[in-house]
Symmetry: C2
Subunit: 330 residues, 2 copies
């Protein structure tokens, strides 16, 4: 099996590449080639006996998509994107990469005549307010950002080309990833991970919103699992509805803090600093708090059952099983 | 007021141009320039004191959109499209015209910095089965054709650019137009107009589906009214939901025939030949039968109240008020 993974230097992309290399197979079929692509050179995962190619390329640049499709991949993971904030600031770049790049890729894959399985990383940003408390699978998308609009347009293209039998596509609408590894960033959602990740490393973290704030989460490991499950799913069961809201854990900030207390103790919780930020609180209040995701669950997609499990994934996968005691702890 | 009308040689486009020229104003503001564009030269409507320009141009060809936007229109009607059947047969052409052409137009209009009102002719083909008996305004679009996918993608772009204040757009999802003037065509929906239009002209017509078949209609005159109403609508009331399902009349083929009998008598009805066509019946069975359109109605969009009114519009607007007796009638 030949696999093309675009966006392989991103957080989920790197983990997916590591997992593919470690597994050596998808659905029991050996991976003979793994092409890793991103705008910066992606890291080479260890362990794959098959050929691993690493390429730094811009999917939206002329010719790139055709070059990538020339290897006639059987399975394509498309995770490359301009993120939400940048897509809102730079309108043309967002449409060029998130829409035109995706279209160029699908056009090039179509032209191979091989109807590859294509897993497209979409987003719950396709939905916009007003929201019901728990959003059903048949809720009508209404993007409130250009990023969400671009992801939705790409989803529609994936569905249309799949209906025509030109590709065999699935779009995965991902929950907010938590705990997101790495340094704190300026994304409005950053604190959802920061208030767990930083204290688990013995460092302070800011909490800019009330503890009653509710959001919808999956671990990075669960996200990798979504992509792998989608790779072998029987798409005959999907019909024309090729975009799936992934299962997630709906939890409040209070739930997150309670889990942190259980996993790492009160000294870790004491590292969270309440720093009210009305702007962040207002942004986050416009986000959805919960999704039903009944369809994806029925199709076998799974996610953590509680916030404790999400924390344990982080401790195992990022911290080598070790929680760092805060400097000020006894 | 400077108006740009693209798709001005089409059935609705021609009628809209005639109406604009006759009115000489939109919302009480005099029309100083009317630019009529289509891939074939559109007819010049009579009566407008302002400047009328006629242009044969392909919106999806490089440079066309910029040329059209250079006149800095205040109001743009965009009705140009590859129709459903052709978009299904020629995938690349459908995306090029229906998506890329629309995007080129909107990009060029954005670049003027004038935030023009843009009325985009969308379609109920954005929806796909399974349908409820009466489709509510918040039903999630799921196109079953490439045409529907292209229209939906363009709607999302119109909404996103309007949210950003770059254009002031509205997408109108039009019902099936009935009675469609002109010669019979091979569209699967053609009989809905044919069984009325042909007998009213004293000619026979084929009916390939059962009389219980239900569909959703508006007259050409009502469609022109939708565009004119959208031109002066207060878009502040729309929020981010810029795509509107237009009101229509839900009626069965039996309702159509009853109306024909009342308007033109039993001899006209006798010109309808039952010619069962399982393929057409199967295609039509996949179409929606009724829409709520509560939102558009609340915003002041109006349509005929019954099939008799739809027939009378045809007799007045196309037949000069005169019904032709069938050759075989007494």
């Amino acid at each position: 099996m030949r696999i093309l993974l675009i966006g392989a230097a991103g957080m989920i992309g790197r983990k997916l590449a590591v997992r593919l290399a470690a597994d050596g197979a998808v659905g029991g079929v050996a991976i003979t080639a793994l092409d890793l692509v991103d705008v910066v050179p992606p890291p080479v995962p260890a362990g794959l006996p098959g050929r691993v190619t690493v390429r730094a390329a811009d999917l939206s640049a002329p010719g790139t998509a055709d070059q990538l499709a020339a290897a006639r991949p059987d399975l394509v993971f498309h995770l490359a994107a301009i993120v939400s904030g940048e897509a809102e600031v730079d309108l043309a770049k967002g449409y060029r990469v998130n829409l035109d790049g995706t279209r160029a890729l699908l056009d090039a894959l179509m032209a191979t005549g091989t109807c590859p399985r294509v897993i497209f990383a979409s987003s719950l940003a396709v939905f916009g307010p007003p929201f019901p408390a728990r959003i059903p699978d048949d809720f009508a998308p209404q993007p409130a950002t250009s990023y969400g609009a671009q992801k939705l347009m790409a989803e529609i293209l994936v569905s249309d080309l799949s209906r025509r039998g030109l590709i065999d596509g699935i779009s995965l609408r991902l929950p907010t990833i938590c705990v997101r590894p790495g340094a704190p960033n300026r994304a409005a959602s950053g604190f959802f991970s920061g208030i767990l990740r930083e204290p688990l490393a013995g460092l302070p973290a800011d909490l800019p919103v009330p503890e009653t704030t509710r959001h919808y989460f999956a671990s990075p490991r669960a996200a990798v699992g979504f992509f792998l499950h989608a790779a072998t799913l029987d798409t005959g069961a999907l019909g024309q509805a090729r975009a799936l809201t992934m299962p997630g854990l709906s939890a409040t900030v209070g739930d997150q803090i309670d889990a942190l207390r259980r996993i790492a103790g009160p000294s870790a919780v004491a590292l969270i600093r309440r720093t009210d930020d009305p702007l962040v609180a207002r942004i986050v209040a416009g986000w959805a708090a919960d999704f039903d995701a009944a369809r994806a669950r029925a199709l076998g997609f799974t996610v953590e059952a509680d916030m404790d499990a999400i924390l344990r994934v982080h401790v195992e996968d990022e911290l080598g099983g070790r929680i760092v005691a805060p400097a000020s702890a006894p």
